[in-house]
């Protein structure tokens, strides 16, 4: 086991997963990941570029991914806001890469799950609860991106980026993937059969493509097919819970910690943690909430995931937010809400 800061552990996990291109622009708490990539990727035969802006970083990543390489970019939510056009393009022209949102807080739920680009697309989003899970998710993200030919987001936070833990990192096998026969790897240049990665899929006069209507319908159908198959979640004590607490990412870890304690004290509480934010594990939440008389949502934002919770529980009138906006003094991290005693108090208050 090595004692690694989350940013270093994620960088090593990405390299172990075969990531060979990384481009981004520093912004705390993402900076540590970029720094680690710049130190470690060249030694693995890869390329890391400190781009001139987030927009360049994501488009460089799109280019490397279109050439068939496992590639990634990242920022925090503020910088990923700038990347939305390229992420939408990549979703629509089917270029797989990974976007690390080493966020400052939980205010990017809508950004991750709804996106800010144009067109009918979704981004698979994995929200790890801690460094250990982030290492695992990093490997899974590259696999899912290649499997579905789509950008995949890892939604981290300052606790995940900056906490040091003992971790083991090695390549993980998630099963076989289709060959990247679509990649612009230069092998068909000058043959008259050169390939295209193009959002509008018009093709060439000598080799017409399906065009936007057929292409975008196929993309929409692809995301429809991903939705029921790729959702992931974790849960505890739900079978007979009269109060269910839903939370994602680090907040999910804090909630499960507190709920485990409350259960030990005999209170009928359960916890539910979406691991994929899109696809949202709706059917699993619906089942977990079967006995719940109240469903509490603890998220460190003004109320974003609560929309998905309301859409999926048997009775939306039982849903209530117990989180809120909570930003640390520096503006770069969580505020006082990300604290087990506070979570405990809010759950107990809501149960009265």
């Amino acid at each position: 086991m090595e004692l690694l800061e989350g940013s270093a552990a994620i960088a090593e996990s990405a390299i172990a997963a075969g990531c060979r291109f990384f481009a981004g622009y520093p912004m705390s708490p993402f900076t540590g990941l970029l720094e680690n990539m710049s130190q470690k990727l060249p030694a693995a035969g890869g390329v890391c570029i400190n781009a001139e802006s987030e927009i360049e970083g994501v488009n460089m990543t799109l280019g490397a991914a279109a050439a068939g390489f496992r590639a990634a970019t990242g920022s925090c939510g503020q910088g990923i806001a700038l990347m939305q056009e390229a992420i939408a393009e990549a979703a629509l022209n089917e270029t797989p890469f990974v976007v690390f949102n080493m966020a400052r807080n939980q205010q990017d739920y809508f950004q991750c799950t709804r996106g800010g680009g144009w067109g009918d697309y979704r981004t698979i989003t994995l929200a790890p609860q801690d460094v250990t899970e982030a290492v695992e998710h990093t490997q899974l993200a590259f696999h899912l991106a290649d499997k579905h030919r789509a950008p995949v987001i890892i939604y981290g936070d300052p606790l995940i980026a900056q906490t040091r833990v003992g971790v083991d990192i090695g390549p993980r096998d998630f099963g076989p993937l289709p060959a990247k026969d679509w990649a612009l790897d230069g092998t068909s240049s000058g043959t008259g059969r050169s390939k295209q990665v193009w959002t509008w899929a018009m093709g060439k006069s000598t080799d017409p493509g399906p065009g936007p209507d057929r292409h975008w319908r196929a993309i929409a159908a692809k995301f429809d097919a991903i939705e029921p198959t790729e959702h992931r979640h974790a849960q505890g004590w739900c079978e007979d819970a009269s109060t269910l607490v839903v939370a994602f990412g680090s907040a999910g870890k804090f909630v499960s910690y507190v709920v485990d304690e409350l259960r030990a004290e005999g209170l009928p509480v359960g916890w539910f943690r979406p691991i994929t934010l899109w696809p949202f594990p709706g059917p699993a939440l619906e089942a977990a909430a079967a006995t719940a008389k109240r469903v509490l949502v603890f998220e460190l934002n003004g109320g974003q995931m609560i929309d998905d919770v309301r859409l999926n529980v048997p009775d939306r009138r039982l849903v209530r937010g117990i989180g809120g906006v909570s930003i640390g003094e520096s503006g770069l991290g969580f505020g006082d809400l990300m604290d087990a005693p506070v979570v405990r108090e809010r759950i107990l208050e809501a149960m009265q």
Binding site: M1, L3, T163, A340
Partner: protein, 202 residues
């Protein structure tokens, strides 16, 4: 069992390096460690805090500790919130020229050391964190003493390697200060004290 320590002081006292050294020493012993750091932008004088958790099994602890088994207080500034989180009877090591032990809760097991004076005598004022760490580890037997020295040497960047020997002296002087206060240089005495303390807490 998971053991927690929250270390607090001001930027420049070596709080972060102290915590990294302890966490790395435990990792090199094949145990599970977690280190969560919190500090301001200032290199000197700003708040500096770190939490270390060590256990023999995968850790359950949160990166923001709801409570702690022990603490090291290097400075009176910014450390009140740490004291609030120490569990009843918890072990507290204080840099006693800067933190008045009399101001702490009466239920705590407080061990004071003039770490600044000792650091200046055996190394330099900058080694105050390692004096505190050597002292703390003698009190709690968190890790083996030589594991601390090895972790410290591993953590220093190449341009700081000249400080390895003086930092080792600082760690040893901290440990010796506890042995003196306990009337014995034997580590098992410290371990026995911790065991007795745990029994008292239980």
């Amino acid at each position: 069992v998971e053991r927690e320590v929250i270390v607090g002081g001001i930027g420049g006292q070596g709080i972060q390096l102290l915590a990294k050294t302890l966490a790395l020493a435990a990792t090199r012993e094949g145990r599970f460690a977690m280190l969560a750091a919190e500090y301001g932008g200032e290199m000197r004088g700003g708040p500096s805090k770190a939490s270390v958790v060590i256990g023999d099994e995968p850790l359950r602890a949160l990166p923001v500790l709801p409570s702690t088994w022990s603490a090291i207080l290097a400075h009176h500034r910014f450390t009140e919130s740490i004291v609030d989180r120490i569990r009843p009877g918890g072990v507290v090591v204080v840099n006693d020229k800067l933190v008045d032990p009399a101001t702490l809760r009466p239920d705590l097991t407080v061990h004071g050391i003039d770490a600044g004076k000792i650091a200046t005598e055996v190394a330099s004022a900058q080694a105050v964190g390692f004096v505190l760490l050597g002292f703390y580890n003698a009190v709690t037997a968190m890790v083996a003493a030589d594991a601390l020295a090895a972790a410290m040497a591993e953590l220093l960047p190449p341009y700081r390697k000249q400080h390895v020997a003086s930092n080792e002296r600082a760690l040893a002087a901290g440990a010796a200060a506890f042995a003196d206060s306990a009337g014995s240089g034997d580590r098992t005495d410290a371990a026995a004290q911790v065991a007795a303390h745990e029994q008292a807490v239980a």
